[in-house]
């Protein structure tokens, strides 16, 4: 029997997460891997919003900031467990996305991009300026998730790097599974339909504004979870997590890898997370190289790296 695209993607991801450590020259690479997975989670949300529904957000880092600071602040102020704070952050992000998105998504065109841009900047400013609460630009400590200790007590002892590598890897796979479920579901089909033609989507009874809002809320939750995991892993967070550059990075990763495909976008996240590590020699020129890569991809591989490569390979097979 032929493997469905969904199963194939999940098997590839599982194999990559499980087998990559065999090739790691040092423990440092567990940390790089975990960073890739954390970014991949946010980018999977972008696939749902941009790849499925065709909407662009330039402020998703704002939701990552909310997720990250929820894990930093809720345990200290309300005595909530850091793990539950992740869900609290996701809930707040979802509600905020609903409130921000509801008036905007009724409009056509690029209003969402501009409004989310403003939203992201607003969150970053609050996190930077409300020193009494967030300690401002110097950042704030995040309590221990405690899961690694728990696993240690159960006899599964992992180094900190290993634990976060496998834990975020698992989260990423669950995130991909959910996004792939959505793709083939009635809701996902309706999202892809309104991406193709809003006029036609309406005539088959699709409530276009409401569905865009759903995609926006779901993708905001992804960004929030990604921010929470980043904060919990680093045990420290600064307002940069909500910064404009981070929003742009998310969109760039998705578009580079292939915004229409979950696997492609995760591939893009991997490349753009690895590149700065590999290009430390060119640290000064990092943004220039990124810009150049983007321009070349947009000109020559418009669907994104992975879909274009796969298409070429398939073309040769047949």
């Amino acid at each position: 029997m032929r493997l469905s695209a969904k199963s194939a993607t999940l098997i590839v991801l599982l194999a990559l997460v499980a087998l990559s450590p065999l090739l790691f020259p040092s423990n440092f690479y567990y940390r790089v891997g975990a960073l890739i997975f954390v970014n991949a989670i946010a980018v999977t949300g972008i696939v749902i919003l941009t790849g499925y529904a065709g909407q662009v957000s330039l402020g998703h880092a704002g939701f990552a900031g909310i997720g990250a600071y929820a894990c930093a602040l809720a345990p200290v102020h309300w005595g909530i467990h850091p793990g539950l704070a992740l869900f609290l952050g996701a809930g707040i992000s979802g509600v905020l996305a609903y409130l921000v998105g509801r008036p905007i998504l009724r409009l056509h065109g690029y209003y969402l991009g501009v409004a989310t841009l403003g939203f992201g900047i607003l969150v970053a400013m609050i996190l930077t300026n409300e020193r009494a609460l967030t300690r401002g630009p110097d950042g704030i400590d995040v309590p221990d998730l405690g899961l690694r200790g728990l696993l240690g007590d159960l006899g599964l002892s992992l180094s900190n790097g290993q634990f976060w590598y496998f834990f975020t890897g698992l989260c990423m796979i669950v995130g991909a599974w959910i996004a792939l479920n959505l793709h083939d579901s009635p809701t996902g089909r309706a999202l892809r339909a309104l991406h193709g033609s809003e006029v036609a989507a309406r005539t088959v009874g699709i409530d276009v504004a409401q569905l865009k809002l759903r995609a926006f809320v779901i993708s905001a939750v992804y960004a929030s979870v990604s921010g929470s995991l980043l904060a919990l892993q680093n045990r420290f967070v600064t307002p940069d997590v909500a910064g404009f550059m981070h929003s742009i990075e998310m969109v760039t990763m998705a578009v580079l890898g292939g915004v229409g495909s979950v696997l492609g976008a995760i591939f893009g996240a991997a490349i753009l997370t690895l590149l700065p590590q590999v290009l430390t020699v060119f640290a000064e020129y990092e943004h220039m190289v990124l810009g150049l890569v983007m321009i070349l991809v947009m000109i020559f591989l418009r669907e994104g790296l992975l879909p274009s490569i796969l298409k070429k390979l398939r073309g040769k097979d047949e």
Binding site: I178, N181, P186, T187, R189, A200, A201, T203, G260
Partner: protein, 260 residues
């Protein structure tokens, strides 16, 4: 039988020009009513008002006894009005099957959470929609193209796909905007049969079409528009003898030639 869809004094103006003015008619279940008229007569504008794309500034649209003037298209779909477009509106990057399944949206959509976690309820709804869509594709002769990307289909096939998608809603009223435009004689005849068959099942059909032979062949009733006004109405034989209609068509023939 009473009217399923009634248009009462419908009108709209764009910047001082009356694109459609005081047009009234009604369609009964199982009836095929065609709206004809020279280019620019306001046929598509009329369609866009009936289907909620434009908001009329005069008159009413009554569907099954309810005033549905200017309500949003997706709510009209819920009440049983479905349409196709003159310039195709196909979900190009989706498969042919997915395009048809999209027509089942109202019947297959349920909880988002069920969709996110691929719960059995979600999978069952999707499967039922797929089965229904396959049957519809067979009905319009596209079952073998089901897995192909819709953008790769021929023009005539896309026209039929659009009709299949509209039928997936199980509509009471179907608006067809030039379903045979750009189709060859064989394809036109296929679409002909399809429309007649759909009407026979009790659907009220409202048709805009340039192919006069087709209009005369399949319509029960014809409404003629010129410069946004209704100039004649009746069965095909009566309308084709009407001096005002003949004048409207002959008067614009030169202009039509000039357009190429």
């Amino acid at each position: 039988m009473s009217a399923l869809l009634s248009i009462e004094g419908l009108g709209i103006g764009f910047g001082g020009i009356r694109a459609v003015n005081d047009v009234s008619f009604s369609v009964r279940p199982g009836e095929i009513l065609s709206v004809i008229g020279p280019n620019g007569a306001g046929k598509t504008t009329l369609f866009n008002m009936i289907s909620g794309v434009y908001r009329p500034d005069a008159g009413r649209v009554v569907l099954d006894g309810e005033d549905v003037t200017a309500i949003e298209p997706h709510l009209l779909a819920r009440r049983g009005l479905s349409r196709t477009f003159q310039n195709l509106q196909i979900f190009q990057s989706m498969t042919v099957l997915d395009n048809a399944v999209a027509g089942y949206h109202l019947r297959e959509s349920g909880s988002v959470l069920a969709d996110l976690f691929s719960l059995p309820a979600s999978r069952r709804r999707a499967r039922e929609a797929r089965e229904g869509a396959r049957a519809l594709l067979a009905r319009v002769g596209l079952e073998r193209a089901a897995e192909r990307e819709a953008g790769n289909l021929s023009y005539g096939a896309l026209k039929r796909l659009e009709i299949a998608r509209a039928l997936a809603l199980n509509p009471k009223v179907l608006l067809l905007d030039e379903p045979a435009a750009g189709c060859n004689a064989v394809e036109t005849e296929e679409i002909d049969h399809l429309i007649a068959e759909v009407a026979k099942s009790g659907v009220a059909i409202l048709l805009v079409e340039h192919d006069m032979k087709m209009v005369m062949r399949i319509s029960n009733h014809i409404v003629v528009l010129d410069h946004g006004e209704k100039i004649a109405e009746g069965d095909p034989a009566t309308v084709s003898q009407n001096p005002a209609v003949i004048a409207a068509y002959l008067g614009t023939e030169e202009a039509a030639h000039a357009d190429g």
